[in-house]
Subunit: 224 residues, 2 copies
């Protein structure tokens, strides 16, 4: 069997196959960072690595599976970064945790962009098996973060840490989209005083919400 894509022959051995997958994911990541997740197409990914679109589909089911795999990798990196940042921090400092959690998202614009697309688009155009693999990874990353935050703030229960980090992840995804409008709208919001509240400054906003939640978890704890 031959391929017309010189330099990108079909991978036969497992390590070759992994290398191909990594190349595809690297190309998708570059395009998503540059153009936004919404604008990444299979054709653009294929063009970037110099192969035909149909060759991509030997390695991934759909465009959405490529992006879902990127999301899974981003969640793992995010959890490792949180662990590194809070490792050795003196326990009981909610201001530090709020700042680190807010920066864990604002430092990862691609993850933020992907979060909103995941239930809306990515999980809807892949097989159930692919969603299951993805969910196990993302839930695993959240579970790691729950442990890290529990070490940093020992007065919180694991359920409270999960409540906090799940809300922060959803908010980061939703607010990133609001904070990153297309250029014509960014200009409109900046120019029109009546639309001042349409502008969102993501880092201070997420940090403040994190501070509010961390201050409220214990006092609002249900009795019993």
């Amino acid at each position: 069997m031959t391929t017309t894509d010189a330099g990108f022959q079909r991978a036969r051995r497992p390590e070759q196959k992994r290398q191909r997958q990594d190349d595809i994911l690297a190309a998708a990541r570059d395009l998503a960072v540059r153009d936004g997740v919404r604008n990444v197409t299979l054709t653009d990914i294929a063009d970037r690595i110099g192969i035909h679109k149909s060759a991509l589909l030997r390695y991934f089911e759909t465009r959405e599976q490529i992006l879902l795999e990127l999301t899974a990798r981003s969640w793992r990196e995010w959890a490792r970064w949180l662990d590194d940042e809070l490792d050795g921090a003196a326990p009981g400092d909610p201001g530090l945790v709020a700042d680190v959690v807010a920066r864990s998202f604002t430092g990862r614009p691609l993850l933020c962009d992907l979060i909103a697309h995941t239930p809306l688009n990515l999980e809807r155009h892949v097989s159930v098996a692919a969603v299951r693999r993805y969910k196990l990874t993302s839930l695993g990353a959240i579970a790691d973060a729950v442990e890290v935050i529990g070490r940093a703030l020992p007065e919180l229960t694991p359920g409270e840490c999960r409540e906090f980090i799940s809300a922060m992840a959803s908010l980061a995804g939703a607010m990133w989209q609001i904070a990153n409008p297309p250029p014509a709208l960014a200009d409109l919001y900046a120019a029109d005083p009546e639309l001042a509240h349409a502008c969102v400054d993501l880092l201070p906003r997420l940090r403040r919400t994190a501070e509010i939640m961390l201050a409220g978890l214990v006092p609002s704890r249900p009795p019993g």
Copy 2:
């Protein structure tokens, strides 16, 4: 000038035009509630009221402008409902406010579905003038809610009420998408104990987050 759409002749007087617009919006609303916002097409809207797609475009710029106008109307209804529910409530009851705010969203699945689509899709396929009109309406609804919550919880500043209600709106939009997966995924999450945390029960989740935020706003207030 004639039209081939019997029974749906071009509206010439302003009140006829408004009636046409209302018919289009009602059809779009029915379809969005039944099939989800993602699945509403211009063709389906046109079919439902028995006209040709091109006739729709005399009244709205795009599919997205129809949905954006639905979103604006939903925000206005939401703000009025909040006002009605909290009107005459004894001030200083954060549990009541948390419950009412959570139900203001869970009782409006269409608004929740639209919230996530707004920055991601709807605001990107209409004119800047249409986005401006929409933003003035949605920001107006949020401003009304800030006032209502400020009356119910007089210890909060307007900025704190805005922080709270903006976060709740973003969360409601994001979590609604997670809580409403396609049927195949809902079955998967329900059947697989490892995926238990993928299931979100929207009302208790939003209510709890509202309680946490309302308990945390004052204690986390920045000094000065």
